[in-house]
Symmetry: C2
Subunit: 245 residues, 2 copies
DNA sequence: GTTCGTTACGAACGTCGTTCGTTACGAACA
DNA sequence: TGTTCGTAACGAACGACGTTCGTAACGAAC
């Protein structure tokens, strides 16, 4: 990259070759930054999304990015909202109207959200804590609320349920992408399971009777099955637990 | 604390003043690193836990830490397990025996875990994805499994429930500490709520009917209430959702 | 008293996020 | 047409990061 830092700037440049000499250079914009950052994220992971790397992809310098984005965290928040935009949202009944298919729709929505977020490395981690308020985050929240309303759930319970569902989506997505990362890093999925199995095998049955007795069960089951079960637990639990319980 | 870096090492040191000249210097150890790291974590947050800073607290150089710890991530994993050790664990019935108080105990355990983890900044974030296998993490898992067994839940369901509960604990803890961080950063909790309220106030009722209609409800309720409700949802949902659905 | 393996550590490498002062541009105006 | 001027763009630099390397200091063993 940077050439030798020795020459401090030629006082009489032979050619005043500005970068603008290059003809068709797309204008910078926040959207362009997000696209570049997302591409790097998918290719090399969250920590590879550095300001320098994004700038390089856009054929410019890192300093130029700060015109469109306050800092790296803001850029990542924008990337997160862009990813949320990939989630297909159901059309939802109007306020006050029941919606019979709410359960199937909500199940699919949560599932899709986890899958989509999980497919983009650990980007979901940026949402843990920073209540996201991007347009796509709001649209997702609106859809979830609509489906819960269609189920006839009252306002206070719906508010709690929205938070819980959002929390579960982001957490499950982070976990899912963490697994995928590990599988891609060299160790196969099987070797990861084997390592876990070995950890349990080493445990003393006196200290950890339940863990040892469940050794086989703990490492069984695919991630998809666990995801699906978790969603059912959430839905069943929400229906069974009115606020002020 | 390094002195001025100007002199590159005197060829004939007037005093061969080694750091060992200092008399009572506690010996380094992994435990000492973890203690120092935890103190910095609590005082200044996760990102302040740098190798240099930990070394400084131990009156040594950053390079010395790598004798006891492979890298920063491993140190953070150790810190995480240390924090898990603060969680009071219930004594649990033997395998096969029912345990009538399982629900109250499990509720308290989950609540305590979230509170303890949440009290140590965003340390819980290091556990999202990296299935923790430290001694305290195993003990916590054993306790949860024991309580679930006391409830008479079958093996496959218990395995799924353990994962789900762990996921919820870590996610809820991260969120809780994120709130606390924000409150400590200057903006009070009220101003954070006010900002959120304003965000909702700006929304068009045509685009986000449910969000707008629930504006008041969404910002109501304390974090503790939300936590408690989430735990009930989990417990009710687990009971209502046997594996193989 | 000398050797030897281990622990400790200063210095350095490459990278990061971010800021600063300056340059180059294109539209507005004379 | 010629000039001005706000702003986008950028190279260089700052301070800090994780980590590695070669060397120095130590305690134990002989």
């Amino acid at each position: 990259m940077a050439k030798s830092p020795g020459e401090p700037r030629p006082s009489t440049p032979a050619t005043p070759v500005s970068r603008r000499t290059r003809p068709a250079k797309a204008a910078l914009s926040a959207d362009a930054l997000v696209s570049a950052a997302l591409a790097i994220l998918d290719a090399d992971g969250l920590e590879a999304v550095t300001m320098r790397r994004v700038a390089q992809a856009l054929d410019t310098g890192a300093a130029s990015l700060y015109v469109y984005v306050a800092n790296r965290d803001e850029l990542l928040a924008l990337v997160y909202d862009r990813v949320l935009g990939e989630i297909a949202l159901p059309t939802v009944a109007a306020v006050g109207e029941p919606f019979p298919h709410w359960r199937a729709e909500l199940r699919t929505l949560i599932r899709t959200a986890i899958t989509v977020l999980g497919a983009h490395r650990k980007i979901a981690g940026v949402a843990l804590g920073d209540v996201p308020t991007g347009p796509n985050a709001l649209a997702l929240a609106e859809a979830i609320l609509g489906l819960l309303a269609g189920a006839g759930i009252d306002d206070p319970t719906r508010s709690l349920a929205l938070d819980l569902i959002n929390l579960h989506i982001t957490a499950a997505a982070v976990e899912e992408s963490a697994y995928a990362d590990k599988a891609g890093e060299g160790q196969s999925e099987e070797s990861a399971v084997a390592a876990m199995d070995e950890t349990f095998g080493r445990l003393s049955a006196a200290d950890y009777p339940h863990l040892v007795s469940m050794r086989d069960t703990l490492t069984a089951g695919s991630g998809d099955e666990r995801d699906a079960w978790g969603i059912e637990v959430l839905l069943n639990g929400i229906l069974a637990t009115p606020a002020h319980g």
